[in-house]
Subunit: 136 residues, 4 copies
């Protein structure tokens, strides 16, 4: 994302956690929200969306959680570790479940699911990375 890093660098509060890990996670959350929105749509446009109901549902859930988490992480003022921790856990879980489902369909030739699974893996990993920094 073009402006996320500069926004973080100019925030009067400074970065609430390690800024490299934070930047990666903010970008991964917005990227995954977009990919999951697009994957739900691509699944709907397939010949047999009935076989993709679980994938579409998890895509929609994952979009919602990634959006929320990406915005929460974009705020540095009055940082509250308990809020951020539970949001990151929900986001890592959503990305894991959605990534697993997409991976299954990728193995059967669904290219949009393969790419979406990559976005989910990246976001899951970025969330877990910040969780390891801020502690359990």
């Amino acid at each position: 994302m073009s402006h996320a890093r500069q926004m973080l660098e100019t925030n009067p509060s400074g970065a609430a956690v390690d800024s490299a890990a934070l930047m990666e996670c903010i970008e991964a959350c917005f990227d995954c929200a977009q990919a999951c929105t697009a994957c739900a749509d691509a699944c709907l446009a397939e010949d047999d969306p009935k076989s993709l109901v679980r994938c579409i549902r998890l895509n929609l859930d994952c979009t919602d959680i990634c959006e929320a988490t990406g915005k929460i992480l974009s705020r540095q003022a009055a940082f509250e570790p308990q809020m951020v921790r539970d949001a990151l856990r929900a986001c890592a879980q959503a990305c894991r479940l959605c990534g697993d489902e997409c991976q299954n369909h990728a193995q059967h030739g669904m290219e949009h699911c393969r790419i979406c699974a990559e976005a989910c893996r990246r976001c899951e990993s970025a969330c877990n990375n910040i969780l390891s920094v801020i502690g359990p």
Copy 2:
């Protein structure tokens, strides 16, 4: 909400968990998202928003999580307990933190914070109620 109950009753999947608890939680999530959006705005409009920065920040975070959780709970197809559980935990946590902060300001005469704290308490309780149904 006028149509949430009828939408649930006509879903081909049926309610994924106890429908009374689910309805209450869906309504509480959307209500709390609205109340927190309005409370952040009301705090901004006060004479001294600087003293309310933590409240505004938690309001914005709580809005984001409640919106995501309200939408996730509105979906009955391919219900995934692990997804729903972590979203509910994050939502209950957000409502607890935001409700506590608003309660502090309510004791100093901020009426919008008193009402927002009520919406947060209701939503926290509704999330915990479903968590007790679907298990840890």
Copy 3:
């Protein structure tokens, strides 16, 4: 919604436009966002979601616009008529298109589409009502 009216009454800015019309529109936006989320899910759970792709897509779009508009209307500080006007127009359009599509499926026995169409009509009407107050 339980707390929306009280939140509006305690906002230091007062209601930016006629408060009865504003309350109805805020409630209608959140109600329609929930109904459209639930209708997309119910359509997915039908035997033949392929025949409902346009309905699902418009449901998802309408959710997104109603959520945004409901939050924008919940803010009274520094009211900006040009912002609100274009959001209301987009919301009324989304509700009209989604309501028309749902109405078609309601005529073929889809009860969730009939109820969602009601939520869309209510929201379209509430948006147009405020537009008539704040002018073109």
Copy 4:
């Protein structure tokens, strides 16, 4: 964004409008939603947030509209020009208003407002570019 282009290229519906313009606008919407979320937070963290109430409010509105528009543009199935057009108009308007306000504060040394204004200008331009393609 890492995966947006690949998601578009693998969508069974193909891009609903010129794919280069569409990609730029999807990326600009998500980037602007993030920048506006971060700018609202940075404004809150300044010494005198009271002087930035209009900026914070427009940041929050612009976030909401950019998120909705970015998701709507990410969907290619059953493309509906009337829906997309009004969303783009609302988004261009929000970016114009928020960009103008941020520009004012940038001239008084607020670096986060200067960067956010850039994100708003980019998004406004990207929305207007698609509007010129799909017609009035």
